[in-house]
Every structure is written in C-alpha cells, then in structure tokens.
C-alpha cells in the first residue's frame, strides 16, 4: 500500500450545488404555458381569373352575422348583444322544430348513428368592417364556436352518454358530420363606417 500512490478522491460535494444552479436557471427560463387559441381554417385562395362567386344559397340556409366599426352586432338584420348570439346560432344550426325560416333538414346516413336529419347546407356568414376591433371579432368567433361545441356536446350526451371531448375519434367524426362547422368568413369588402348596406 505504501508504495502505491493513492489517487485522492475528487470531492464531489459541490456537484449538487452546481446542478442546483443549473436547475434554478432552467426553472426560471422555462415557460410551461402552451399557447392557446381559436383554430380556424381559411378557404383556399381564389384562382386569379376566378371571380368571387356568389354561390346560390337559399336565404333560409344562411345566417348573416355582421360586426360594424362600432363593434355592434347585426344578426339576420337585427341588432343583437353578443351574449345572445350563441343561442340564436344554436337555434339556427339545429332547427329543431323544422321551421321553414331556418335551414332545411336533410336525412343523411352516418355510420355509427344511422339516419339523422341534419341541416346540411347551413352557412354562417361572418362579415366585419375594416375598423372592427379584434376583440369584438374574436368574441363573435368564440360564440359561434361555442354554439357548435354545445350542440355537439348535447348530441353526444344524448347518443353516447359522454361529453364530446371524451369520445373516441370515430364517434367524434360522426358527430362532426352531424354538426359540421360552417363558418364562412366572406371575401373582405369595404363597408363605410356604420353604414351596413347591401352585402
């Protein structure tokens, strides 16, 4: 023993301190918050020689929501508070009583669900002014998405006894077919000020 040189052990007690330091650095710089938002899908661009077509949609199938430069809401021609928009939109999308003024219902065969009467051709048209505030626009979008989400939830509770989010993907797809999200953000037009004329 005496002849061999003894390699003195490296003192590793400061190792913990060093790693603590690093740990704290990463703790501070970390940002766990995931970004959230309202997901939407834009329509494909128009071909250069294609004119913005006025697709012939029956009047009963279209739900027009306009937001003007003063952030006022006009739904189907009447002024409305944004808080009432959700119920109005639900009523429109669902058309429970088969009202002739609300979108027409068609019988569609959807797997897992069988024959369901849905308002296949309904469109929600959202139009805004150049000066509309972004917050107001998001609120309207939010209410419309909320209307769809509530309808989907109600339907899935009724059919599967579970919330829409908890369903397996196949069943979610089926419900999406019953209540497809059809929010059309029209080609931009310039409305002047409060004057919410023809569209």
């Amino acid at each position: 023993m005496g002849n061999k040189r003894k390699v003195s052990e490296i003192n590793s007690s400061s190792m913990a301190d060093i790693s603590f330091l690093l740990l704290i650095f990463f703790l501070v710089t970390t940002s766990m918050n995931v970004s959230t938002g309202l997901s939407r899908r834009l329509p494909a661009p128009l071909q250069p020689n294609q004119k913005p077509e006025d697709i012939d949609i029956k009047k009963r199938n279209i739900f027009i929501v306009k937001v003007n430069s003063l952030n006022q809401l006009q739904v189907q021609g009447e002024l409305m508070d944004v808080r009432k928009l959700k119920d109005k939109a639900k009523e429109f999308i669902q058309n429970e009583a088969n009202d002739p003024n609300l979108p027409e219902k068609t019988m569609v065969n959807i797997d897992l669900l069988g024959n369901v009467e849905i308002t296949k051709d309904h469109v929600i048209s959202l139009q805004n002014d150049v000066d509309t505030q972004y917050q107001a626009y998001i609120e309207v979008q939010n209410e419309l998405v909320a209307a769809y989400n509530e309808l989907r939830n109600e339907f899935s509770m009724q059919k599967f006894g579970k919330k829409y989010d908890e369903l397996p993907e196949r069943e979610q797809m089926a419900i999406q077919q019953v209540y497809p999200q059809k929010i059309s953000e029209a080609e931009p037009k310039n409305y002047g000020g409060i004057k919410n004329g023809k569209n």
């Binding site: 590793s12 007690s13 190792m15 913990a16 790693s19 603590f20 690093l22 740990l23 990463f26 703790l27 710089t29 970390t30 940002s31 766990m32 995931v34 970004s35 959230t36 938002g37 309202l38 997901s39 939407r40 899908r41 834009l42 329509p43 494909a44 661009p45 937001v67 808080r83 805004n128 002014d129 150049v130 000066d131 509309t132 505030q133 972004y134 917050q135 626009y137 998001i138 609120e139 979008q141 939010n142 998405v145 909320a146 989400n149 953000e185 931009p188």
Partner: protein, 156 residues
Amino acid sequence: MAKIRKDEKREMPALSTSSLPDIIFMLLFFFMAVTSMKEVTFKVSIKAPEATELQKLENKSLVRYIYVGKPTPEFQKAYGSETRIQLSDAFADVKDLENYIVSERSAMKENDQSSLTVSIKADKDTHMGIITDIKQALRRAYALKISYAAVKRTTY
C-alpha cells in the same frame, strides 16, 4: 418482555447525500427537456383577446407566429405608433408575409409541411383591416390552418 431502552445512545448514521446530485440532475434534465426559451423579443405590445372555446396548439414545431400590435415604446420613435406586423424578430409588411410563410414552410420537413399552423397573435385593440389583409395573404400562401391566439376569459 421487550424492554425499551432509552438511555442507551444510538447514533444516527449520517444521511448519505451522494445521490443528491443524481436527483437534481434528473430534475434538471426534465426542465431542460420541457423548457422553451422565449423565441422572440417582442417589438410590438400584445394584449391577447379573451375567449372561452380555446384549443391548445399541439405541436410547437409546426406553428409559426405572426405578431400584430403597436410598437413598444422604445420602437415607437423609429416605427411610429401605428399597428405593425412582426415576423420572427423584425418588423414586416403584409406583402412580406407570403414570402415568409413560403420560406418557413420549405424549411420544414416535407411531411410536416401540410400541417403548418399559423398563429395570429394580435393585440385586442387591433383593427380588423390589417387582420383581414393578413388572412388574405395567408390564403394566397396556402397556409390555411390558422389559430387566433387568445387567453382564457375569466369574467364575462
């Protein structure tokens, strides 16, 4: 009968701390893995609008951000106080947007390209005119999956 002897001093063995670094390292690696450093320095001030029906943006590597808002005070001298667009680290114009998206997309892996999502982070007082311009530019660039960044609404 068992006899409890209290008088006899039993020495508590020293707690071994040799595994402490390992534990800390484990924590460290966890935070290193989940951490994402702030990607950009904001040159525009953004107060996100509020909403309730929020969806999480799942895959961060597939998301590109467009920041819209008024320049922060230190940039107001140079850029004015009108609403501006910021792409990654610099101010940009609506007409730069298409090129930006196209180049970002071509830098992505081929099978990820179709799932590119553009998140529009705009200040809640922005006028819709500029948002509409952005949306039109995104349509032209075929970046059709978008997300309007918003935060959870706490009060009505």
